[in-house]
Symmetry: C2
Subunit: 224 residues, 2 copies
DNA sequence: TAAAAATATTAACAATGTTAATTATATTTG
DNA sequence: CAAATATAATTAACATTGTTAATATTTTTA
């Protein structure tokens, strides 16, 4: 009975891959049972032999995307020294990831996908998404006495709300109305927040070229 | 030709009222052309004689709700002295409004409703929604030298991102997973943020009863 | 190879937004 | 007031959606 399981997992994966492809390229609006099944090479009803419904399937993509996001961000911020600058770079790079794949932002934060009854682990993954990206650097800052341990949870939460909020307003409401305005706003907002958090100690001047790597990374990405 | 216009406006309003009713009671998921038209007392196709499409109609509700929200918040925070405490109360009451009407939060911040081509004024209204609620108190704080003018835009933006972010995670992802946890988190997060913004000057102790009016207002509202 | 089990597909349903064709109503004109 | 016209409202129809039930096909087992 081992072959059965392997084959079943393989077929499930065809559907998952198809779903991921559509989410990354066209977003949730393009997701449909027939569309997914077409790409997977099966008839539409076959999907129901492997998944409870389409929401089930969609949620299975989250952990893959989170892993991909982590890789993306680590690569883009490689070489930046630990601490405040690194955290800023990580947050901005995190934003970059979702600018490149707005459909994944929808999946993580926007889409109301069925009921969340037995999806608690996925919900939790999403909630900790940015934290897990920044974790080691927050710890670095605490152990180097740059921030106080007792404030850590508040700081993490605030950075999360700010980062996701920025994306929400831009991707969902086109505020600010242009890409360049958004980039500049996200930069300033994140920098100012970290300035507040780190109490100006170790602050860098606001001359717009303080973080060339991340600045560049922003420029190198174009969204439609 | 004046009667024509009056009558047309009246009928349009039947549809708008029906749409508002559904949004407030059942949320966007319950919105449909046939549902709206039923409630308005017309056949489904009649809607298209008065509105380009259903998105057009939905967007027309935004300004009404914003006005209602403002009234709600002002009433709930009446008597709280100007300044930091008032701003906290306003933000928490703003949260209260959307806890009571999750469908309106969806409309304001979540729903991707058609293209935003000629909807710029509504987008802008949404963007300034919380600012307009807090405007006079921010000004009060600046004129009383509690915060610096040059930081004002950053502070406003941060409070907006934090407040909307809190609602997004709770209403959309059930994080934190219970109402009471959310209330306590929203309270602490908002208070801590304002602590950071106001640089601890005029801070109140974190004993959980510092703001009885707003605390009460939270308790008095129950969401399903 | 034939019967049984597992898997995949087509047919069908109800609900959706939207348009075209048709009917009912109101308004203008003789 | 009656006939012609313009306006408004409704029904019919279509394409698309998620999902289930009824079939058809393939694979496994005896």
């Amino acid at each position: 009975m081992k072959n059965k399981e392997i084959q079943e997992l393989r077929i499930k994966d065809y559907f998952i891959q198809a779903t991921k492809d559509i989410l990354k390229s066209e977003g949730i609006k393009a997701i449909s049972v027939r569309n997914i099944s077409d790409k997977a090479g099966y008839s539409y009803a076959t999907l129901y032999n492997y998944f409870k419904d389409v929401n089930d399937l969609i949620f299975l993509c989250v952990s893959d995307f989170q892993a991909e996001c982590l890789t993306f961000v680590k690569k883009q911020t490689k070489g930046i020294p630990n601490g405040r600058e690194k955290i800023k770079a990580l947050a901005l790079s995190y934003i970059n990831y979702f600018l490149e794949y707005p459909g994944i932002f929808e999946l993580f934060y926007i889409s109301r996908v069925g009921d969340f009854n037995n999806k608690q682990s996925i919900i939790s993954l999403i909630d900790k998404s940015l934290d897990s990206v920044c974790e080691s650097d927050w710890n670095y800052c605490v152990s180097h006495n740059q921030i106080e341990m007792e404030n850590l949870e508040f700081f993490k939460s605030q950075l999360k709300l700010s980062t996701v909020g920025l994306l929400l307003f831009y991707l969902n409401r086109l505020t600010p109305p242009s890409y360049s305005e958004f980039i500049s706003h996200a930069n300033k907002q994140t920098d100012d927040l970290l300035g507040l958090i780190f109490g100006k100690q170790g602050a860098v001047e606001d001359n717009g070229s303080k973080n060339p790597q991340v600045q560049n990374s922003f420029i190198s990405i174009n969204i439609k």
